[in-house]
Amino acid sequence: MGHGLRTLLSLMPNDFETLETLGGEDEVSLLEILDHVLNSGVVIHGSLVISLAGVDLVYLGLNVVLTSVETALSNLQIEEKRRQK
């Protein structure tokens, strides 16, 4: 597990606050941002290759975090429902 992954995971549970995007009219949660920047968009071909280089290990770690983001999003939704009750 890369250092980046550990850091993200340790930060996630306490960071369910809502952020305002630039311009302020749309609200998105931090976890949705993380989900999109890590999980959506162009993947440069070579970036999925795992090697012994530190860079690639960090990338691998953040790939692994994608599953955790999905889970964390689900937890966020549950948490929001609890708050509404």
């Binding site: 850091t7 440069i44 071909h45 970036s47």
Partner: protein, 227 residues
């Protein structure tokens, strides 16, 4: 060690206000080829793990500053090239494919609706394997019916729809005309949802789910240093 971090691609036009500062306060550069622009920054690599989350938000802000004005093709965070030459070569090699997608997606945004079960709502029936599977099947049918009802309600707004089933529910991605985001939210909210399910709507996002395969996983054959 430094690398070129890529944020997004867009069709260049004179009126666009481009971000000047990106991740970790790094200046944002534009690699141009034909009318394609690719935004990138020279960053220290690998990222400082202590500010990884902040870097993700800064990355998002760069992409969204452009996306608020025009269609973009977002790159995933941590897409890096060894040097500016590799970055520029990538732009040249993939220019036409990127421009075709940007043209196709120029007037639309991606909206999302996730329909998921409320885990705490119904206790899991563990009385037998059959009972457990039957309960799961009922939940699945309910989720599928809600997803279909949502898609039907959005038919008049949808340019294109993609549905992805995950362990946490059904995720519906919809391309809608830019400016009709509130119509999307209203249409979704008008669909009744069973008590055991919940949903979450988000957007607008860049239409990443609707990129062509060649753009999602672009050619880097002639590009040394793509990571």
């Amino acid at each position: 060690m430094s690398r070129i971090l890529v944020y997004c691609g867009f069709r260049q036009s004179p009126g666009l206000a481009l971000p000047t500062v990106g991740v970790n306060s790094a200046p944002v550069q534009v690699a141009s080829f034909d009318s394609l622009g690719l935004l990138g920054s020279e960053v220290e690599w690998p990222f400082d793990p202590q500010r990884m989350q902040k870097s993700a938000v800064e990355f998002h802000e760069v992409v969204h500053k452009v996306f608020k004005q025009t269609a973009v093709i977002p790159f995933r965070l941590l897409s890096v090239f060894d040097d500016p030459q590799a970055f520029t070569a990538f732009a040249a090699e993939n220019c036409q494919r990127f421009l075709q997608d940007l043209n196709r997606l120029k007037d639309v945004v991606q909206m999302e609706c996730v329909i998921y079960p409320k885990p705490s709502e119904t206790p899991v029936d563990r009385s037998s394997g059959k009972a457990y599977l039957e309960q799961k099947a009922v939940a699945l049918r309910s989720s599928e019916a809600s997803a279909q009802a949502t898609q039907d309600a959005l038919a008049h707004l949808s340019r294109e729809v993609r549905v992805r089933e995950g362990k946490n529910g059904t995720r519906i991605f919809v391309l809608v005309d830019r400016g009709r985001e509130n119509d999307f939210r209203q249409a979704v909210n008008a669909v009744p949802i069973p008590s055991q399910l919940s949903r979450r709507v988000s957007g607008p996002w860049p239409a990443a789910e609707f990129l062509s395969e060649q753009v999602k996983m672009p050619q880097t054959d002639g590009v040394a240093g793509a990571k």
